[in-house]
């Protein structure tokens, strides 16, 4: 009973043209965005897929049928069967279980990269954009240098220079991924900087760090979120490419790119062994792209 009465009530509260408080206005805006987003079937598919992938990765120990590292050398490269739903790999390990545990690594890498890149990009971009002058020029020159690098090559060189592994792969991808964020944040900041409302805040005597942190940065977040979501797919692909080239996660880690790298020699005869992790990468990457694309439509109408 209560749901039928409160939901319309809540919706009316959210959608009112005359919000009573700033909070109500903000929540109303968010609700409208969500309503637009939900109407986009393609984007919803992406969101649901991502939620499922995250759930599967989190519940990997419950869902897995085998120990992902258990070898069975006499049962290598087996076809999918009741015992091994997706077959076994070149050391007789269960591909299905490895995919589940590999999801944790791949998605974990994505989260780690984003957590490193977004703040750095935001900081560099807003500071450069807000302060202008020499600071801006120096910071943007550094950004340009990193932009001019072939992304995969910089990551490869960086990983090679330290040592191959998940943490260095994360650092390497982060190193190559931040410049576009800095550019984006700077461009946004340049438009915000000149607005009356920033001028007004400046008159109240707010310090520069405070203005950047409390007033400029939050306004850049919208476009940044879109960019992050769209970037997640390319982070997944870069991580997989690094793994594929032997510079990412190390065996016996079931990272998806590394799984393909070790299985690519079986492409012709035992095609399912490299294809399974390949499909996993594709699905995850596509889901993030669909989601990001949908978000761009609702959050960044200029690009529509």
């Amino acid at each position: 009973m209560s749901t039928t009465t409160t939901l319309p009530g809540l919706r009316a509260w959210l959608l009112t043209d005359t919000p009573a408080s700033r909070a109500q206005a903000a929540w109303g805006r968010r609700y409208r965005i969500w309503r637009d987003f939900r109407a986009n079937g393609v984007a919803m598919t992406g969101l649901v897929t991502i939620i499922l992938l995250i759930a599967a990765a989190l519940a990997a120990p419950l869902l897995a049928t085998h120990n992902p590292d258990a070898q069975e050398l006499t049962n290598r490269l087996a076809t999918p069967s009741a015992a091994h739903w997706l077959g076994t790999d070149e050391l007789g390990r269960d591909v299905y279980s490895r995919l589940l545990f590999g999801g944790r690594i791949t998605l974990g890498m994505v989260v780690a990269v984003v957590l490193m890149v977004a703040p750095v990009g935001l900081a560099v971009g807003t500071i450069a954009g807000y302060l202008g002058g020499m600071t801006d020029r120096v910071m943007m020159r550094v950004t340009d240098i990193f932009l001019a690098f072939p992304r995969l090559i910089l990551a490869l060189a960086f990983v090679a220079a330290i040592h191959p592994g998940i943490s260095s792969a994360i650092f390497a991808i982060a190193l190559t991924a931040w410049p576009p964020y800095a550019r984006l944040a700077r461009a946004e900041t340049l438009t915000i900087r000149g607005t009356d409302f920033i001028a007004a805040i400046r008159l109240t005597g707010a310090t520069t760090p405070r203005i950047i942190l409390r007033h400029v940065a939050p306004l850049c977040l919208g476009s940044l979120i879109v960019r992050v979501t769209l970037d997640m797919s390319s982070i997944i692909l870069t991580a997989a490419a690094l793994g594929f080239l032997g510079m990412g996660a190390q065996p016996p880690s079931p990272e998806w790119g590394a799984m393909i790298a070790t299985a690519r020699d079986y492409m012709l005869q035992q095609w399912w062994v490299p294809l399974m992790p390949g499909m996993a990468i594709f699905v995850a990457s596509l889901a993030f792209n669909l989601l990001g694309d949908g978000l761009r439509d609702v959050l960044d109408p200029k690009q529509r």
């Binding site: 393609v42 001019a148 690098f149 060189a157 792209n289």
Partner: protein
């Protein structure tokens, strides 16, 4: 207009500074690589006295800054040093490998443009329809598939199973070394040599890697075309044209498209820059003897002269294409004028 030109000049002037930074970073990465460059040259079995001599010859005993200074000095004189892997000068190698990548990228961007722009226009004119959705998902899928997987699948399907396409490499083995290199672009060189068989062969070898790259880069082109087109279709001149009773196709292609073409040039320049680096994995899968493969192989063997040279070439191309995009935007866009 004037201050835009000034901004453009400033952008051009900053290119050398960016390049300097690029060389410095690459140089430093090369020097902290956990591979001893001496081992890369003389191998594992060489006795200590041979290794010590080669270390001296390479100047590796000198301070890092001095080494960098020497490298820069040579660079300014057009000398990129000698590659360990190929025994040739890096300049010679770049002349050999870069055209292969260029050819691949040119064909890929051509295919991506020819398919991507009409798709974008189609999606824009049918905004919100089922076709719009299909185009969108098709493009996003292209951006989501790992290039190495797509490449391997193509090889298995089109080469192995169907036999429609030739295998890896740039040309069939019987043509190797028979075409005098003039431009380095094999399709053009074979035509210059008047050798139709070799021309067909070169085209056939290009099809798969270029197709894979084209699919990957098409998404961005289609997406931007659609966005610009929606923008243009809402413009006043289009509405006026419609009111005049012009046919829909004429309105779309003549008026709206004409208006966005300059902005599309910018998009294409940026996509092309991205292609040059996207070629790295594609070249590995298809054994394409291009600059990407040269770079990866050199990197994994600590052949730092080669790595520096190749990075420099890709970096320069990238910067120039960006500059070109800026210039096109500044000089040609009617709205800016």
């Amino acid at each position: 207009m004037r201050h835009r030109l000034k901004a453009l000049a400033a952008a051009a002037a900053s290119v050398p500074i960016t390049l300097f930074g690029l060389v410095l970073v690459t140089f430093l990465i090369g020097r902290v690589m956990p591979i001893d460059p001496v081992i890369a040259i003389v191998g594992d079995h060489a006795p200590p006295d041979v290794m010590a001599r080669v270390r001296l010859e390479l100047g590796l005993d000198r301070p890092l800054l001095v080494q960098f200074g020497i490298y820069l000095n040579h660079l300014l004189h057009g000398d990129l040093g000698r590659s360990v892997m190929t025994s040739h000068s890096v300049v010679h190698d770049i002349k050999q490998f870069f055209p292969a990548t260029l050819e691949l990228a040119i064909v890929a961007i051509f295919v991506a443009t020819v398919i991507g722009i009409p798709l974008g226009v189609l999606a824009a004119t049918r905004q919100g329809s089922r076709i719009d959705t299909v185009v969108r998902v098709f493009c996003l899928a292209g951006q989501s598939v790992p290039i190495f997987l797509l490449g391997l699948l193509c090889l298995v399907i089109f080469y192995v199973k169907l036999g429609w396409a030739p295998g890896t490499g740039r040309e069939d083995v019987i043509f190797a070394g028979t075409i005098p290199p003039v431009t380095g672009l094999l399709t053009i060189d074979t035509l210059l040599a008047g050798d139709w068989d070799a021309f067909h062969d070169a085209l056939a070898h290009l099809a798969q890697p270029a197709g894979v790259l084209a699919y990957f880069s098409m998404a961005y082109i289609t997406r931007m075309t659609r966005a610009f087109m929606l923008d243009a279709l809402a413009g006043e001149y289009v509405i006026t044209a419609r009111a005049k009773g012009l046919s829909a196709a004429r309105v779309v292609w003549r008026h709206a498209f004409g208006n966005i073409s300059v902005r599309l040039v910018t998009v294409l320049a940026l996509t092309f820059a991205g292609l040059l680096e996207g070629a790295v994995v594609t070249e590995t899968v298809f054994s394409w003897p291009g600059i990407g493969q040269y770079l990866t192989v050199s990197l994994l063997n600590a052949d730092m002269n080669a790595v520096l040279g190749a990075t420099l070439v890709i970096g320069i191309s990238y910067l120039l294409l960006n500059l070109l995009a800026d210039a096109a935007y500044t000089l040609m866009d009617p709205r800016v004028r």
